[in-house]
Symmetry: C2
Subunit: 201 residues, 2 copies
Protein backbone atom coordinates (compact mmCIF):
# COMPACT_ATOMS: atom_id res chain seq x y z
CA UNK A 1 0.00 0.00 0.00
CA UNK A 2 2.78 2.49 0.66
CA UNK A 3 3.66 4.28 -2.50
CA UNK A 4 4.21 7.98 -2.32
CA UNK A 5 5.06 9.03 1.21
CA UNK A 6 5.23 12.69 0.23
CA UNK A 7 1.62 12.56 -0.88
CA UNK A 8 0.49 11.16 2.45
CA UNK A 9 2.55 13.76 4.27
CA UNK A 10 0.96 16.48 2.16
CA UNK A 11 -2.53 15.16 2.87
CA UNK A 12 -1.76 15.19 6.58
CA UNK A 13 -0.52 18.77 6.39
CA UNK A 14 -3.55 19.92 4.43
CA UNK A 15 -5.96 18.32 6.87
CA UNK A 16 -4.02 19.68 9.83
CA UNK A 17 -4.00 23.19 8.39
CA UNK A 18 -7.77 23.15 7.90
CA UNK A 19 -8.41 21.96 11.44
CA UNK A 20 -5.81 24.15 13.14
CA UNK A 21 -7.04 27.26 11.36
CA UNK A 22 -10.52 26.36 12.47
CA UNK A 23 -9.94 25.48 16.11
CA UNK A 24 -6.38 26.24 17.05
CA UNK A 25 -3.52 23.84 17.63
CA UNK A 26 -4.20 22.53 21.13
CA UNK A 27 -7.85 21.88 20.32
CA UNK A 28 -6.89 19.87 17.25
CA UNK A 29 -6.13 16.27 18.20
CA UNK A 30 -3.93 14.01 16.16
CA UNK A 31 -6.87 11.61 15.91
CA UNK A 32 -8.99 14.35 14.36
CA UNK A 33 -6.29 15.02 11.77
CA UNK A 34 -6.18 11.31 10.97
CA UNK A 35 -9.93 11.19 10.43
CA UNK A 36 -9.87 14.36 8.31
CA UNK A 37 -7.04 13.07 6.13
CA UNK A 38 -8.14 9.43 6.07
CA UNK A 39 -4.78 8.38 7.40
CA UNK A 40 -3.54 6.33 10.34
CA UNK A 41 -1.51 6.79 13.48
CA UNK A 42 1.35 4.84 11.96
CA UNK A 43 1.44 7.16 8.95
CA UNK A 44 1.33 10.27 11.10
CA UNK A 45 4.18 9.34 13.42
CA UNK A 46 6.18 8.02 10.52
CA UNK A 47 6.17 11.48 8.93
CA UNK A 48 6.29 13.59 12.10
CA UNK A 49 8.29 12.85 15.24
CA UNK A 50 5.54 14.36 17.36
CA UNK A 51 2.73 16.88 17.26
CA UNK A 52 5.09 19.79 17.66
CA UNK A 53 7.08 18.69 14.62
CA UNK A 54 3.82 18.87 12.68
CA UNK A 55 3.39 22.46 13.87
CA UNK A 56 6.86 23.33 12.63
CA UNK A 57 6.21 21.85 9.20
CA UNK A 58 2.78 23.46 9.09
CA UNK A 59 4.06 26.95 9.84
CA UNK A 60 7.01 26.72 7.48
CA UNK A 61 4.69 25.62 4.69
CA UNK A 62 2.26 28.41 5.48
CA UNK A 63 4.96 31.09 5.52
CA UNK A 64 6.22 29.90 2.16
CA UNK A 65 2.71 30.23 0.72
CA UNK A 66 2.30 33.63 2.34
CA UNK A 67 5.54 34.92 0.85
CA UNK A 68 4.41 33.54 -2.51
CA UNK A 69 1.32 35.70 -2.19
CA UNK A 70 3.61 38.66 -1.52
CA UNK A 71 5.62 37.86 -4.62
CA UNK A 72 2.43 37.49 -6.67
CA UNK A 73 1.45 41.03 -5.70
CA UNK A 74 4.89 42.36 -6.59
CA UNK A 75 4.91 40.54 -9.92
CA UNK A 76 1.47 41.83 -10.81
CA UNK A 77 2.63 45.46 -10.67
CA UNK A 78 6.16 45.04 -11.92
CA UNK A 79 5.42 46.77 -15.23
CA UNK A 80 4.03 49.93 -13.64
CA UNK A 81 6.68 52.67 -14.02
CA UNK A 82 5.29 55.28 -11.62
CA UNK A 83 6.27 54.33 -8.04
CA UNK A 84 3.12 55.83 -6.50
CA UNK A 85 0.80 54.09 -8.95
CA UNK A 86 2.81 50.93 -8.49
CA UNK A 87 2.30 50.98 -4.72
CA UNK A 88 -1.42 51.70 -5.08
CA UNK A 89 -1.82 48.97 -7.67
CA UNK A 90 0.05 46.61 -5.36
CA UNK A 91 -2.44 47.33 -2.58
CA UNK A 92 -5.26 47.02 -5.11
CA UNK A 93 -4.02 43.53 -5.93
CA UNK A 94 -4.83 42.39 -2.40
CA UNK A 95 -8.18 44.17 -2.35
CA UNK A 96 -8.95 42.09 -5.39
CA UNK A 97 -7.54 38.96 -3.82
CA UNK A 98 -9.68 39.46 -0.72
CA UNK A 99 -12.78 39.01 -2.85
CA UNK A 100 -12.31 35.25 -2.55
CA UNK A 101 -12.40 35.26 1.24
CA UNK A 102 -15.35 33.84 3.13
CA UNK A 103 -16.28 33.81 6.79
CA UNK A 104 -14.48 30.47 6.98
CA UNK A 105 -11.15 31.93 5.91
CA UNK A 106 -8.57 32.08 8.63
CA UNK A 107 -4.89 32.69 9.16
CA UNK A 108 -2.53 30.20 10.73
CA UNK A 109 -0.45 32.98 12.31
CA UNK A 110 -3.32 33.77 14.65
CA UNK A 111 -3.44 30.17 15.85
CA UNK A 112 0.32 30.00 16.32
CA UNK A 113 0.63 33.27 18.19
CA UNK A 114 -2.32 32.43 20.46
CA UNK A 115 -0.44 29.58 22.08
CA UNK A 116 2.71 30.87 23.64
CA UNK A 117 4.29 27.52 24.37
CA UNK A 118 3.89 26.72 20.70
CA UNK A 119 5.83 29.86 19.80
CA UNK A 120 9.34 28.44 20.10
CA UNK A 121 12.42 29.39 18.08
CA UNK A 122 11.18 27.31 15.18
CA UNK A 123 7.61 28.59 14.75
CA UNK A 124 8.43 32.04 16.10
CA UNK A 125 11.28 32.38 13.64
CA UNK A 126 9.03 31.40 10.75
CA UNK A 127 6.36 33.97 11.61
CA UNK A 128 9.10 36.55 12.00
CA UNK A 129 10.37 35.59 8.55
CA UNK A 130 6.92 36.35 7.13
CA UNK A 131 6.61 39.70 8.90
CA UNK A 132 10.09 40.83 7.89
CA UNK A 133 9.58 39.58 4.34
CA UNK A 134 6.49 41.70 3.88
CA UNK A 135 8.13 44.63 5.66
CA UNK A 136 11.19 44.66 3.44
CA UNK A 137 9.29 44.46 0.17
CA UNK A 138 6.48 46.86 0.99
CA UNK A 139 8.76 49.40 2.70
CA UNK A 140 10.80 49.47 -0.49
CA UNK A 141 7.66 50.36 -2.46
CA UNK A 142 6.94 53.14 0.04
CA UNK A 143 10.48 54.51 -0.12
CA UNK A 144 10.34 54.74 -3.90
CA UNK A 145 6.91 56.37 -3.77
CA UNK A 146 8.22 58.85 -1.18
CA UNK A 147 11.14 59.66 -3.45
CA UNK A 148 8.92 60.10 -6.50
CA UNK A 149 6.72 62.50 -4.57
CA UNK A 150 9.72 64.26 -3.08
CA UNK A 151 8.45 63.56 0.41
CA UNK A 152 11.16 63.96 3.02
CA UNK A 153 9.08 63.42 6.11
CA UNK A 154 6.03 61.35 7.02
CA UNK A 155 5.45 57.97 8.62
CA UNK A 156 8.41 55.60 8.63
CA UNK A 157 8.25 53.28 5.57
CA UNK A 158 8.94 50.22 7.69
CA UNK A 159 6.03 51.06 9.97
CA UNK A 160 3.76 51.81 7.00
CA UNK A 161 4.70 48.43 5.57
CA UNK A 162 4.02 46.67 8.87
CA UNK A 163 0.62 48.35 8.90
CA UNK A 164 -0.39 46.30 5.87
CA UNK A 165 0.49 43.08 7.66
CA UNK A 166 -1.32 44.34 10.75
CA UNK A 167 -4.42 45.15 8.69
CA UNK A 168 -4.39 41.64 7.20
CA UNK A 169 -4.21 39.98 10.59
CA UNK A 170 -6.61 42.29 12.38
CA UNK A 171 -9.09 41.89 9.55
CA UNK A 172 -8.87 38.11 9.70
CA UNK A 173 -9.83 38.39 13.34
CA UNK A 174 -12.74 40.75 12.73
CA UNK A 175 -13.97 38.60 9.83
CA UNK A 176 -14.08 35.58 12.12
CA UNK A 177 -15.78 37.51 14.89
CA UNK A 178 -18.45 38.98 12.62
CA UNK A 179 -18.83 35.87 10.47
CA UNK A 180 -18.15 37.59 7.17
CA UNK A 181 -15.34 38.06 4.70
CA UNK A 182 -16.45 41.62 4.00
CA UNK A 183 -14.37 43.42 6.68
CA UNK A 184 -11.14 42.27 4.99
CA UNK A 185 -12.17 43.95 1.73
CA UNK A 186 -13.30 47.11 3.53
CA UNK A 187 -10.15 47.36 5.63
CA UNK A 188 -7.75 46.80 2.73
CA UNK A 189 -9.66 49.48 0.83
CA UNK A 190 -9.44 51.94 3.72
CA UNK A 191 -5.73 51.31 4.11
CA UNK A 192 -5.21 51.94 0.40
CA UNK A 193 -7.30 55.12 0.59
CA UNK A 194 -5.29 56.37 3.55
CA UNK A 195 -2.02 55.68 1.74
CA UNK A 196 -3.43 57.43 -1.33
CA UNK A 197 -4.21 60.47 0.78
CA UNK A 198 -0.74 60.42 2.32
CA UNK A 199 0.92 60.35 -1.09
CA UNK A 200 -1.30 63.02 -2.61
CA UNK A 201 -0.39 65.74 -0.13
Amino acid sequence: MPRDGQLTRERLLEAAERLVERNGFAATSVDAILEESGSSKGAFFHHFANKRALAHALVERYVDADLSLLRAGLDAVEAEPDPVQKLLAFLGFYENWSGDLTSESACLYIAVVTERDLLDDQTGGQVERAILGWRAAVAELFRKAYAARGLTHGPDPDDLADQLFVVFEGSYLVCRALGSGEPMRAQLRVYRQLVESLLSD
Copy 2:
Protein backbone atom coordinates in the same frame (compact mmCIF):
# COMPACT_ATOMS: atom_id res chain seq x y z
CA MET B 1 -12.95 29.13 55.16
CA PRO B 2 -15.69 30.25 52.78
CA ARG B 3 -16.34 33.89 53.24
CA ASP B 4 -16.59 35.99 50.13
CA GLY B 5 -17.55 33.86 47.17
CA GLN B 6 -17.28 36.78 44.77
CA LEU B 7 -13.66 37.24 45.69
CA THR B 8 -12.86 33.62 44.92
CA ARG B 9 -14.73 33.90 41.65
CA GLU B 10 -12.78 37.02 40.79
CA ARG B 11 -9.47 35.32 41.60
CA LEU B 12 -10.45 32.42 39.34
CA LEU B 13 -11.31 34.79 36.51
CA GLU B 14 -8.08 36.74 36.87
CA ALA B 15 -5.98 33.58 36.85
CA ALA B 16 -7.93 32.19 33.91
CA GLU B 17 -7.51 35.41 31.93
CA ARG B 18 -3.74 35.39 32.44
CA LEU B 19 -3.44 31.77 31.35
CA VAL B 20 -5.89 31.95 28.45
CA GLU B 21 -4.24 35.08 27.06
CA ARG B 22 -0.93 33.29 27.32
CA ASN B 23 -1.81 29.90 25.84
CA GLY B 24 -5.32 29.95 24.50
CA PHE B 25 -8.44 28.39 25.95
CA ALA B 26 -8.10 24.75 24.96
CA ALA B 27 -4.48 24.62 26.14
CA THR B 28 -5.46 26.04 29.53
CA SER B 29 -6.62 23.26 31.83
CA VAL B 30 -8.94 23.80 34.75
CA ASP B 31 -6.24 22.30 36.98
CA ALA B 32 -3.77 24.94 35.77
CA ILE B 33 -6.25 27.68 36.64
CA LEU B 34 -6.70 26.17 40.09
CA GLU B 35 -2.96 26.15 40.71
CA GLU B 36 -2.56 29.72 39.39
CA SER B 37 -5.39 31.00 41.57
CA GLY B 38 -4.67 28.82 44.60
CA SER B 39 -8.17 27.45 44.49
CA SER B 40 -9.77 24.01 44.34
CA LYS B 41 -11.92 21.97 42.02
CA GLY B 42 -14.86 22.34 44.35
CA ALA B 43 -14.54 26.10 44.28
CA PHE B 44 -14.25 26.22 40.50
CA PHE B 45 -17.30 24.10 39.75
CA HIS B 46 -19.24 25.87 42.45
CA HIS B 47 -18.81 29.16 40.59
CA PHE B 48 -18.91 27.86 37.01
CA ALA B 49 -21.14 25.13 35.64
CA ASN B 50 -18.37 24.00 33.29
CA LYS B 51 -15.32 25.26 31.47
CA ARG B 52 -17.41 26.90 28.76
CA ALA B 53 -19.32 28.92 31.34
CA LEU B 54 -15.96 30.25 32.50
CA ALA B 55 -15.23 31.33 28.93
CA HIS B 56 -18.51 33.20 28.77
CA ALA B 57 -17.84 35.03 32.02
CA LEU B 58 -14.26 35.70 30.96
CA VAL B 59 -15.20 37.27 27.64
CA GLU B 60 -18.03 39.35 29.06
CA ARG B 61 -15.70 40.71 31.72
CA TYR B 62 -13.03 41.44 29.12
CA VAL B 63 -15.42 43.25 26.79
CA ASP B 64 -16.63 45.41 29.68
CA ALA B 65 -13.03 46.37 30.46
CA ASP B 66 -12.35 47.02 26.78
CA LEU B 67 -15.35 49.32 26.44
CA SER B 68 -14.20 51.09 29.60
CA LEU B 69 -10.91 51.78 27.84
CA LEU B 70 -12.91 53.22 24.94
CA ARG B 71 -14.83 55.45 27.31
CA ALA B 72 -11.60 56.55 28.99
CA GLY B 73 -10.31 57.73 25.63
CA LEU B 74 -13.53 59.59 24.88
CA ASP B 75 -13.57 61.21 28.31
CA ALA B 76 -9.96 62.32 27.98
CA VAL B 77 -10.74 64.46 24.93
CA GLU B 78 -14.24 65.58 25.82
CA ALA B 79 -13.13 69.17 26.44
CA GLU B 80 -11.53 69.59 23.00
CA PRO B 81 -13.85 71.77 20.89
CA ASP B 82 -12.32 71.22 17.45
CA PRO B 83 -13.57 67.87 16.04
CA VAL B 84 -10.38 67.20 14.08
CA GLN B 85 -8.13 67.90 17.04
CA LYS B 86 -10.46 65.88 19.22
CA LEU B 87 -10.16 62.84 16.99
CA LEU B 88 -6.38 63.16 16.80
CA ALA B 89 -6.12 63.61 20.56
CA PHE B 90 -8.34 60.57 20.99
CA LEU B 91 -5.95 58.50 18.91
CA GLY B 92 -3.05 60.06 20.81
CA PHE B 93 -4.60 58.80 24.03
CA TYR B 94 -4.09 55.21 22.90
CA GLU B 95 -0.60 55.87 21.62
CA ASN B 96 0.14 57.02 25.11
CA TRP B 97 -1.69 54.07 26.65
CA SER B 98 0.31 51.65 24.52
CA GLY B 99 3.47 52.79 26.30
CA ASP B 100 2.59 50.39 29.13
CA LEU B 101 2.47 47.33 26.89
CA THR B 102 5.15 44.67 27.06
CA SER B 103 5.88 41.61 24.97
CA GLU B 104 3.73 39.69 27.46
CA SER B 105 0.64 41.77 26.74
CA ALA B 106 -2.06 39.92 24.87
CA CYS B 107 -5.67 40.24 23.88
CA LEU B 108 -8.37 37.77 24.84
CA TYR B 109 -10.22 38.33 21.55
CA ILE B 110 -7.43 36.60 19.68
CA ALA B 111 -7.75 33.52 21.89
CA VAL B 112 -11.53 33.44 21.54
CA VAL B 113 -11.58 33.86 17.79
CA THR B 114 -8.87 31.25 17.28
CA GLU B 115 -11.12 28.46 18.53
CA ARG B 116 -14.19 28.30 16.39
CA ASP B 117 -16.18 25.91 18.56
CA LEU B 118 -15.65 28.36 21.42
CA LEU B 119 -17.19 31.12 19.31
CA ASP B 120 -20.85 30.43 20.10
CA ASP B 121 -23.69 32.94 20.35
CA GLN B 122 -22.54 33.92 23.80
CA THR B 123 -18.84 34.66 23.23
CA GLY B 124 -19.36 35.65 19.60
CA GLY B 125 -22.01 38.14 20.63
CA GLN B 126 -19.73 39.66 23.24
CA VAL B 127 -16.85 40.17 20.82
CA GLU B 128 -19.32 41.67 18.36
CA ARG B 129 -20.50 44.02 21.10
CA ALA B 130 -16.93 45.23 21.52
CA ILE B 131 -16.35 45.74 17.79
CA LEU B 132 -19.64 47.58 17.29
CA GLY B 133 -19.08 49.67 20.43
CA TRP B 134 -15.75 50.94 19.14
CA ARG B 135 -17.15 51.39 15.66
CA ALA B 136 -20.09 53.51 16.79
CA ALA B 137 -18.05 55.83 18.98
CA VAL B 138 -15.05 56.26 16.70
CA ALA B 139 -17.14 56.63 13.54
CA GLU B 140 -18.98 59.44 15.25
CA LEU B 141 -15.68 61.21 15.87
CA PHE B 142 -14.80 60.75 12.19
CA ARG B 143 -18.16 62.04 11.00
CA LYS B 144 -17.80 65.22 13.04
CA ALA B 145 -14.23 65.69 11.84
CA TYR B 146 -15.40 65.20 8.23
CA ALA B 147 -18.11 67.82 8.77
CA ALA B 148 -15.70 70.27 10.34
CA ARG B 149 -13.34 69.91 7.38
CA GLY B 150 -16.23 70.05 4.93
CA LEU B 151 -15.23 66.69 3.51
CA THR B 152 -18.02 65.11 1.50
CA HIS B 153 -16.18 62.09 0.21
CA GLY B 154 -13.43 59.84 1.48
CA PRO B 155 -13.28 56.51 3.29
CA ASP B 156 -16.45 55.41 5.05
CA PRO B 157 -16.37 56.52 8.72
CA ASP B 158 -17.50 53.07 9.91
CA ASP B 159 -14.64 51.43 8.04
CA LEU B 160 -12.16 54.03 9.31
CA ALA B 161 -13.37 53.30 12.83
CA ASP B 162 -13.03 49.54 12.33
CA GLN B 163 -9.50 50.15 11.14
CA LEU B 164 -8.55 51.30 14.65
CA PHE B 165 -9.86 48.06 16.12
CA VAL B 166 -8.09 46.13 13.38
CA VAL B 167 -4.82 47.92 14.10
CA PHE B 168 -5.14 47.09 17.81
CA GLU B 169 -5.66 43.41 17.13
CA GLY B 170 -3.14 43.07 14.34
CA SER B 171 -0.56 44.84 16.47
CA TYR B 172 -1.18 42.55 19.41
CA LEU B 173 -0.39 39.68 17.08
CA VAL B 174 2.78 41.24 15.70
CA CYS B 175 3.91 42.18 19.21
CA ARG B 176 3.58 38.58 20.30
CA ALA B 177 5.33 37.29 17.20
CA LEU B 178 8.27 39.70 17.50
CA GLY B 179 8.43 39.58 21.29
CA SER B 180 8.11 43.31 21.81
CA GLY B 181 5.50 45.88 22.74
CA GLU B 182 7.01 48.39 20.35
CA PRO B 183 4.98 47.50 17.21
CA MET B 184 1.75 48.53 18.96
CA ARG B 185 3.13 52.02 19.59
CA ALA B 186 4.48 52.30 16.04
CA GLN B 187 1.26 51.09 14.43
CA LEU B 188 -1.02 53.36 16.46
CA ARG B 189 1.26 56.24 15.54
CA VAL B 190 1.14 55.37 11.85
CA TYR B 191 -2.63 55.08 11.92
CA ARG B 192 -2.88 58.50 13.58
CA GLN B 193 -0.49 59.99 11.03
CA LEU B 194 -2.52 58.54 8.15
CA VAL B 195 -5.73 59.95 9.61
CA GLU B 196 -3.99 63.27 10.09
CA SER B 197 -3.00 63.26 6.44
CA LEU B 198 -6.54 62.35 5.38
CA LEU B 199 -8.04 65.23 7.35
CA SER B 200 -5.46 67.79 6.21
CA ASP B 201 -6.24 67.49 2.52
